[in-house]
Amino acid sequence: MSTKVVDRPPLTFYERTYLPAILGGLKVTAKHFADTVFKGNSVTMQYPEERWVVPEGYRGAPYLVKDQDGATKCVSCQLCEFVCPPKAIRITTPGADGLTADRKNAEKMPKEFEINMLRCIFCGMCQEVCPEEAIFLQKDYSITGENRESMIFNKEKLLKLGGTHAGVQKWKNKLEEAQAQETFPVDAQ
């Protein structure tokens, strides 16, 4: 640990009266004042009417997506529920006799999937961890509701808001692969 001591330059008497600082401040503030009032150079964005362009890679609200065939991608692996730092995600698992996936061969999907947008900190961990590319942080940044319950988004809502994300359809591929092999007639559910 070495600390470098920097000598302060001694102030002249004039400087010690604070006058140069005051005059300098006056100059700067007056310039900005004049700029705004007379030239109309303001940086303010008139929010609801004007909106900013959401940049690529923005981390907005996390939503569930469907694949190009319109099937739910999430398989209820609960990794996102586990990784979510503020525990915003709550998944109700299907159980043995419950819901089977709405696409073949994927075997399961969540019975219910809730994200509490009040708890969510938009960290993106869920998107990062998802092995199925089923959840993405999208561009919504202004999420409002009239009560706490309405801020808990359920599976239906999340899927509707999330839209479609085309990607590798690994379950479909596996199924096609298996069907092409004649050794074991595959009886996919």
Binding site: I22, G25, F33, N41
Partner: protein, 363 residues
């Protein structure tokens, strides 16, 4: 109107005083509200922003051109602000010392309003002097009352029973006491010159002999700077300093109780501005124009005098606001150093020199 003349003098005095108090109170409150607006607007402009420009009451639709312009200026914003303060939840944390917590905002705002009582804000309207109480010891009264203001802050800090308010109030106590001394001493030369403590007399003296700022520039500078410290404004806003103490002594306050502190601060600014106008800028008088330099002979002139006073006051208000964006906050030791090692000796020297000059030249 005739009936007034049949009342006995005491009753007349009470009636007119009540009237003046009512009007002055209303004016000061409105001034506070608009001072806040001006502060927000000026701040915004200095920072290349637009400031409040949304509040538009329903009748604006009936005012073409002028209406939208007023909205853009935020003219109705103070009303909305006030309403908001009134309607917000008044939250009292359960660990506070209740009595002091409730008392503190009142103790802050009342002295600030009381100082206004002795300020002559015009010559006269008809036969009524435009000052609520024309005290012989006006200035002493002012200083007495102003120094009460510090109790509000101390109690707020103590009553909140939490560390930021506590630190804020400790700083504020030391700061206000220190600068009160400098402030008090800076005005003594004025009394030496005017030979009176009555503020109306001081104005009369300035009308005859020219403004005090010319005769006592040093006193003016000290008074001006001390009043920044007294009103907790930047660069001396250590008691509040958001960046280190959250909100200082009013951290734990909300709703109307917070609004009272806010009110107190701006009322204090107004009082200080009025005081400076009175002591150094000749109050309601204007040099070189006789009609404006003598007590008003007509109702119209009376109003003009009041207008002059307010214009001068507005100038100081703008200075208060502008300085906020010009200078960064002082460090605590610099603040103390400035107060005790610079201003107090300077003020003392000023007293001695003035006294000597008066003693030598008047005799």
């Amino acid at each position: 109107m005739e009936a007034i003349n049949y009342l006995n003098p005491t009753a007349q005095m009470i009636l007119f005083s009540a009237l003046k108090i009512g009007v002055v109170f209303g004016v000061v409150m409105t001034a506070v509200a608009y001072a806040v607006l001006v502060e927000r607007k000026v701040s915004a402009w200095i920072q290349n922003r637009v400031g409040p420009n949304r509040t538009s009451p329903f009748f604006i639709d009936y005012l073409p051109v002028i209406g939208p312009f007023l909205v853009k200026l935020g003219i109705f914003q103070p009303a909305a602000d006030g309403l908001k303060f009134l309607l917000k939840e008044d939250f009292t944390p359960n660990y506070v010392r209740k009595v002091y917590f409730w008392l503190a905002p009142a103790i802050t705002v009342i002295p600030a309003l009381l100082t206004v009582a002795v300020i002559p804000f015009g010559s006269n309207l008809g036969s009524e002097k435009m000052v609520i109480a024309d005290l012989n010891v006006g200035i002493l009264y002012t200083f007495g009352i102003v120094s009460l203001g510090v109790y509000g802050i101390v109690l707020a800090g103590y009553g909140s029973n939490s560390k930021y308010p506590f630190l804020g109030s400790i700083r504020s106590t030391a700061q206000m006491i220190s600068y009160e001394i400098a402030m008090g001493m800076s005005v003594i030369p004025i009394f030496i010159l005017t030979e009176s403590l009555n503020l109306s007399d001081i104005i009369r003296y300035q009308a005859e002999h020219g403004w005090m700022i010319l005769k006592q520039p040093l006193a003016f500078v000290i008074f001006l700077i001390a009043s920044f410290a007294e009103t907790n404004r930047l660069p001396f806003d250590l008691p509040e300093s958001e960046s280190e103490l959250v909100g200082g002594y009013h951290t734990e306050y909300s709703s109307m109780k917070f609004a009272l502190f806010f009110l107190g601060e701006y009322a204090n600014m107004i009082a200080s501005a009025a005081m400076m106008v009175t002591l150094f800028l000749g109050g309601w008088t204007m040099p070189f124009i006789d009609a404006l330099n003598l007590p008003a002979s007509s109702l119209l002139l009376g109003f003009v005098h009041i207008g002059v006073f307010f214009a001068k006051m507005a100038f100081f208000m703008i200075v208060f606001i502008w300085v906020r964006w010009m200078l960064p906050r002082f460090r605590y030791d610099q603040l103390m150093d400035l107060g005790w090692r610079r201003f107090i000796p300077l003020a003392l020297a000023n007293i001695v020199v003035t006294a000597l000059v008066v003693a030598l030249f008047n005799n």
